[in-house]
Symmetry: C2
């Protein structure tokens, strides 16, 4: 019998917790690394994560829990990273074990601040991992709905179809449907860009724009995402597939999205600093925006991104959101 690959999830947040739950539907053993030792002890004792998706109960005999990243990485063939992009490089710096032979899937939506790259490119460029060993897991998928076992769809992207298929099989269940894709660049950038558009949606809401405007904003956002991802990596991509449009919609229309909430506060007149303090958490789109803007500035052929530009002017150039969005409203249609 062929040896089954061993999986480990790295990260103890809500998305990491949801991924472990999905894997536990299929695998005898799932490795799970988290930094938070207290949460880990609690999990060992009570069978659920005290901080995220605490309604989900795990059979701990099937979890290989550890707060040592080396241990998690050594024991697994397929690593799924679900650590916020802002902390990824810090965690990787602690790593003594080689990643060379590992299959690395990113479930992270964002840009690694130290390199200004999306996670797949970061692993490829800084850790010398061949692209065929790198993959991406994208939604549309709120972790909270996985906890409730509400039917959700994931896209598993990897240049190597066999690897994509293995990960897809390990995640599929009665409430998770999966689809494989070759578009690791497009899916990962889309997952990152949608957080910026969710901030835009939030700003518009905070400024008092209604549902009519919101729908125009989203229909412009998907066209902008299409242009942007086409410049990055021009393959035959249907931008209206779930991994792109679906992911944009689930975030842009979610009142629970941290990015949308952050935008909403900005629209209501908070400064970036006070909005962040008030929320007491990180809106990933804020950091992603800086990189997305810079990357686009580097495109050989310029691309029109009025929404990204508008949010950038508000968040990084301290312009008045009302003025900027009045101008934005004139150029979208």
């Amino acid at each position: 019998m062929k040896k089954q690959p061993k999986f480990a999830v790295l990260g103890g947040g809500s998305w990491g917790t949801a991924l472990v739950k999905m894997l536990c539907e299929n695998l005898e053993e799932v490795g799970w690394y988290m930094r938070n030792t207290e949460a880990l002890e609690y999990l060992r004792e009570h069978g659920h994560n005290p901080n995220y998706l605490s309604s989900v109960t795990f059979n701990t005999s099937r979890l290989r829990l550890t707060d040592c990243i080396d241990e998690a990485v050594s024991a697994a063939d397929i690593l799924i990273f679900a650590i916020p992009s802002a902390f990824l490089e810090k965690e990787l710096n602690n790593l003594k074990v080689s990643l060379k032979d590992k299959t690395i899937f990113s479930a992270i939506k964002g840009i690694v601040p130290e390199s200004g790259k999306i996670v797949g490119e970061h692993f490829h460029d800084l850790y010398d991992i061949p692209f065929k060993q790198i993959g991406v897991i994208t939604g549309p998928c709120h972790a909270e709905e996985v906890a409730l076992e509400r039917l959700s769809y994931l896209t598993i992207a990897c240049a190597d179809k066999t690897r994509a298929k293995k990960v897809a099989d390990a995640l599929s269940s009665s409430y998770i449907k999966t689809k494989v894709s070759k578009d690791i660049i497009g899916t990962e950038y889309a997952a990152m860009l949608k957080n910026i558009y969710a901030i835009a949606a939030g700003i518009a809401h905070g400024l008092g724009y209604g549902d009519n405007f919101q729908s125009v904003l989203m229909s412009n956002a998907i066209r902008e995402m299409k242009r942007y991802t086409k410049r990055l990596y021009n393959i035959d991509r249907n931008i209206n597939h779930s991994a792109y449009l679906g992911d944009l919609l689930v975030t842009g229309y979610s009142t629970f999205s941290r990015n949308r909430m952050f935008g909403n506060m900005i629209g209501k007149g908070y400064t970036v600093k006070s909005a962040m303090m008030e929320m007491n958490m990180v809106a990933e789109g804020y950091y992603a925006l800086k990189s997305a803007y810079k990357i686009k500035e580097g495109f050989e052929k310029a691309v029109k991104t009025p929404i990204i530009d508008a949010v950038y002017r508000v968040l990084y150039e301290n312009e008045n959101p009302k003025k900027v969005f009045t101008e934005l409203a004139d150029v979208i249609s």
Copy 2:
């Protein structure tokens, strides 16, 4: 000086009321026909429609109010029909004045039951109006947000660009942005199809599916709409423009949409009849569905429409919504 065309709106519902409000921003005189004599008298006396968008105040000296359709039609060059499609033919049957030289714009989203045609085609085929005199006004636009003067975008479609431009100019204001299009077939069918997808969204919600599924459903709906409208009239159409995707989103994500509400009740187990009775109003998508299904059956080359098919099975073939949507969930992605 060139004579300005005279406008009349036909219909006293919320969308008709919103259209009159928009026109009053620009025109000295707006004709307005409604069947309901009591509402008309109230409007004359109090300056607002007692039944719809009652917060909107009109300067009645600029309204040419009438409950006689012949009078309204005679006095105007450009007619904007905002009568529910189910009652349109009945109203037209009362008409003694010729429509031959009129420009006729439809602000109706649906299919005329007597002919099984969308409104533009109905006027063309049954009333011999040349296509260049026929146009369509589509959203995304909730009438309620027009009442609040929240920024909204309209698409004005007509084969004759000059006519489209005239109507667009008459509707544009500080809170209404307009865009002209040549795609009268595509925009009108899109406006009709989106009501069917809103019913689908409602059924899914009623069955307990969450936001993750909803976003996948909407991303499949827009692809289905693209295929359907392409078969009808194959022009270079960006389905992600506001008139198509935007209109789908504003309805599919609106908890106030009658079509979505109707679907929700069906998903929760109401029969079609009891849901209609409970709501005490017409869900246009219910009637549109029958025609949309029939039209598609007549396509020379078959088109995949899993969502329309599923809703049809539930509403017209009395199949169990849970079973049908479980099967639908397997074929969308």
